[in-house]
Symmetry: C2
Subunit: 190 residues, 2 copies
């Protein structure tokens, strides 16, 4: 998605070989119009599939997921990073390891929001080692649902998450894939 790549080059900042800062339009300040464009792109790329639900993780996945939900007419469920006090009923959990933040945490979704037979589209802001996507897949499976597509705003192509998930048969649509990065340098995959 050219608009997104241009935005990453203009307003993003590679801090190192691993860390990309896109906090001016994606994960701290959000550009709603860009989210709207991103949502249109996801709808178009997954035009050949039918879903009944979008699944994402708080917090940075919510903006692109909810815009995509509006375009595609789908409800959005976001996994929580801690079991909330009002989540008294049954819930599914799965562990996530964040390399960026060097920590492990569980994500949780109330069981009632994952139904047997659900065809789920995962939407997330980043795909790196794939730990968050795999946790969402595990949660979907716990509820007897199937993940039929994964839409990613920015994929770090130099980490193995995308490769691993594609080898497992998952259809991933990444709107920008970074092939290589270093301080103040970003190269996209063609």
């Amino acid at each position: 998605m050219e608009l997104l790549k241009k935005r990453i080059l203009n307003d993003g900042k590679a801090l190192s070989e691993n860390i990309l800062k896109v906090d001016s339009f994606l994960n701290h300040q959000i550009d709603p119009e860009l989210m709207d464009e991103i949502a249109s792109e996801f709808r178009s790329r997954f035009d050949d599939r039918t879903f009944n639900k979008i699944l994402t993780v708080e917090s940075s996945g919510i903006a692109p997921a909810v815009m995509t939900g509006l375009k595609m007419g789908l409800p959005v469920v976001f996994a929580k990073k801690a079991k909330p006090s009002t989540m008294t009923e049954e819930y599914y959990t799965a562990p996530v390891h964040s390399f960026t933040k060097q920590k492990d945490y569980d994500v949780a979704v109330a069981a009632k929001f994952i139904k047997k037979g659900d065809r789920i589209l995962i939407i997330d802001d980043f795909l790196a080692n794939g730990s968050a996507s795999r946790a969402l897949i595990a949660i979907a499976e716990q509820g007897g649902a199937k993940v039929d597509g994964i839409g990613i705003v920015i994929e770090k192509g130099f980490q193995n998450g995308g490769k691993l998930l594609r080898e497992l048969g998952y259809r991933i649509e990444s709107l920008a894939v970074i092939e290589e990065m270093s301080e103040n340098h970003i190269r996209f995959r063609d």
Copy 2:
């Protein structure tokens, strides 16, 4: 907002005099079409004011805030509940006390996203004791910005946050104000 009140009565659940569960359409599963309607309502209610930025708090504020940002043509900044590892620069912080979760935490916004002279619209999912809104006001003031409006999806009118902020002169538009609540009973303010 009648549509919202109806939805709260149909799909929300009062667990006690204080806790309202709206996790099927607002803060766990999200109904993007409802968010779209909510955004239209905020735009209409704040039609007489000019803002250049929306400020909210992760996570549940993001969906209504980003939809409102799209309708009003404004960027959205969400305060983070922990200082992220990629937030290396200067930031503003303020403490929040959550009565529902019985805990204190800080929220943080990178200083570069709050500019002197900014006219800020706060959007959040709930207003109860007003602690989150007051933290966002404090953050705005640290950056020399002014909060010119507060848009709330659901106000717990029986807690004192709304009263307190209105007495301080803040314009608050709450789309549904709950006057009184008990287990399985919800009464709205007229």
